[in-house]
């Protein structure tokens, strides 16, 4: 097995081979570091590489595994973190000049949990500045590029997480999602990302964008790997004010239970065609995916998309108000430290009133009720991962983005668990994803449907031509 093949193993496969002693944890970390050295100059997915730490952790993992101490499926597995997860003594920048050399004094709860699970930290990943505003041309670090075609965006804001996984630079990553920032790059890069239920995974030590919409979650190359990481990071955390004291099930137990008889609601009506509508290639790929689900015994049910469409308006209003509140002092004192894109988006929040914010929060309660009422008739929702293929950097148009439906925002507003899984390619060999959304705290249902679809197709096995 050559280095390229090793780097594209799943966590489950790499873990099995570690335990068979096909290679050591040090060799696994070395393979990733060599590949990062060889190709990340084209992708810019890493902001900070922690090679020495990674090798030290790998040596420790190897000693433990050989000595009979097995911390579970993530033991010895190299991972990387979106650069808004606080890492004690390791630079955490949010891809911004505002925090360019900031060294946190504690770890995020999720980082601590991954360390306890025996993971190897390769480094910190590029993102949209402060998880908002799009790829920045005036940030201190270059914008991350899509491994499938480096002229195209990888999606964001967890852009480095998506690109690094697709390129085989790490085996798992953490992203964060306030309006689609785990699911969009997962869709654009051809990997799997799950935004868990609001409150399922601690946000403590994750730099906020919008407190009431922010979600932390895993990104990986397979559904099973996503379940493995989610298992390690989920659970109540008293340090997170929004953490839910809800029992965490075993996410792997029902993974293979299939979709026979499952009712899949598709809210196409009054949503997919709003303004410019969904891109025709994206819709064609989505429709093919529904046919596969049908062949797997699922029942496709039409539902009204109107409340899903309105959810974006509430999500965006709440987001800019909360983001402005968080950044207000810095924005007053050193506004030019922000890149122009994120600065202008955040400042929009200064022009909205307290009444505007509360109108959005009141509408949120109404829309949440309307959207969740559909679960009386369906088990999951299915929608595209993104409204269009990843566009070229040169053709990026934020106004066009606003004219297409957001298939991700409604599930931040409602806090419902949502997974994006690869479902094909559009013209130019650019990946597309499909999302499955389940009732609150039923991540296991999302994972089960996504796994059944994934195993019936070959999309997740494709590699970018790097």
């Amino acid at each position: 097995m050559n280095n390229l093949d090793v780097c594209h193993l799943t966590i489950a496969e790499a873990g099995a081979r570690l335990r068979r002693r096909d290679f050591s944890a040090v060799e696994l970390a070395d393979a990733c570091l060599d590949r990062i050295d060889a190709i990340d100059g084209k992708l810019h997915s890493f902001i900070t590489l922690t090679a020495d730490l990674a090798l030290e952790q790998a040596r420790q993992a190897q000693r433990e595994l050989l000595g009979g101490t097995d911390r579970g499926p993530l033991h010895g597995i190299p991972i990387a973190l979106k650069d808004l997860y606080m890492t004690k003594g390791i630079r955490t920048t949010c891809h911004s000049a505002v925090l360019e050399n900031w060294l946190p004094v504690h770890d995020a709860t999720t980082v601590t949990k991954l360390q306890e699970a025996g993971t190897i930290l390769l480094g910190k990943l590029g993102m949209h500045e402060f998880a908002f505003g799009g790829p920045s041309v005036d940030a201190p670090f270059p914008a991350v590029r899509n491994p499938w075609n480096t002229a195209h965006i990888p999606g964001g804001s967890s852009s480095g997480s998506g690109a690094a996984l697709a390129a085989g630079l790490c085996y798992g990553a953490l992203g964060s999602d306030t309006g689609g920032s785990i699911r969009t790059p997962s869709s654009h890069c051809g990997i799997v990302g799950i935004k868990p239920t609001y409150g399922r995974v601690s946000r403590y030590g994750v730099i906020p964008l919008s407190w009431s919409l922010d979600h932390a979650g895993p990104m990986a190359r397979s559904v099973e790997d996503s379940a493995i990481i989610l298992q390690a990071i989920a659970g109540y955390d008293a340090k997170d004010n929004a953490s839910a004291n809800v029992a965490v099930p075993n996410f792997l137990t029902g993974l293979k239970d299939g979709t026979k008889g499952l009712r899949v609601g598709v809210p196409r009506r009054n949503w997919f065609d709003e303004n410019l509508g969904i891109h025709r290639q994206t819709e064609a790929v989505f429709d093919q995916t529904l046919k596969v689900l049908d062949s797997l015994g699922a029942m496709i049910v039409d539902i009204d998309g109107k409340p899903f469409s309105l959810a974006r308006k509430a999500n965006q209003t709440i987001l800019v108000c909360e983001a402005y509140a968080y950044h207000e002092k810095t924005m007053q004192e050193t506004p030019m430290k922000f890149g122009s894109s994120v600065r202008r988006r955040i400042i929009e929040g200064a022009f909205l009133s307290a009444g505007d914010y509360l109108t959005a929060q009141r509408a949120r309660a109404v829309l949440n009720e309307q959207i969740c009422a559909n679960f009386a008739n369906v088990d999951v929702f299915a929608v595209p991962g993104a409204a269009r293929p990843p566009e070229p950097f040169e053709a990026m148009d934020p106004n066009e983005q606003n004219m297409r439906p957001s298939f991700t925002n409604p599930f931040n507003l409602t806090g419902l668990p949502a997974i994006s899984v690869p479902c094909g390619f559009t013209e130019g060999n650019l990946p597309a994803g499909i999302q499955f959304i389940a009732p609150a705290f039923q991540e296991a249902t999302c994972l089960r449907v996504a796994y059944a679809y994934e195993q019936a197709t070959e999309w997740h096995k494709q590699r970018p031509p790097l």
Binding site: N241, L310, M331, I347
Partner: protein, 53 residues
């Protein structure tokens, strides 16, 4: 509003921000149509959940 927020924005910066602000206000106007007097905000304060240590 920018002054009240303590922001110093040049004309050029203001012109670039205003389309987004106008879109945001239009969105809020649409959201107002959804609610009536009985609707409370999502995430209203709940003393029982304030257990951060």
């Amino acid at each position: 509003m920018a002054e009240r927020a303590g922001l110093r924005l040049g004309d050029d910066e203001l012109q670039r921000i205003l389309p987004g602000v106008n879109r945001a206000r239009q969105q809020v106007a649409e959201l107002r149509q959804l609610i009536d007097r009985t609707d409370e905000p999502a995430g209203a304060f709940n003393a029982a959940s304030m257990d951060r240590s």
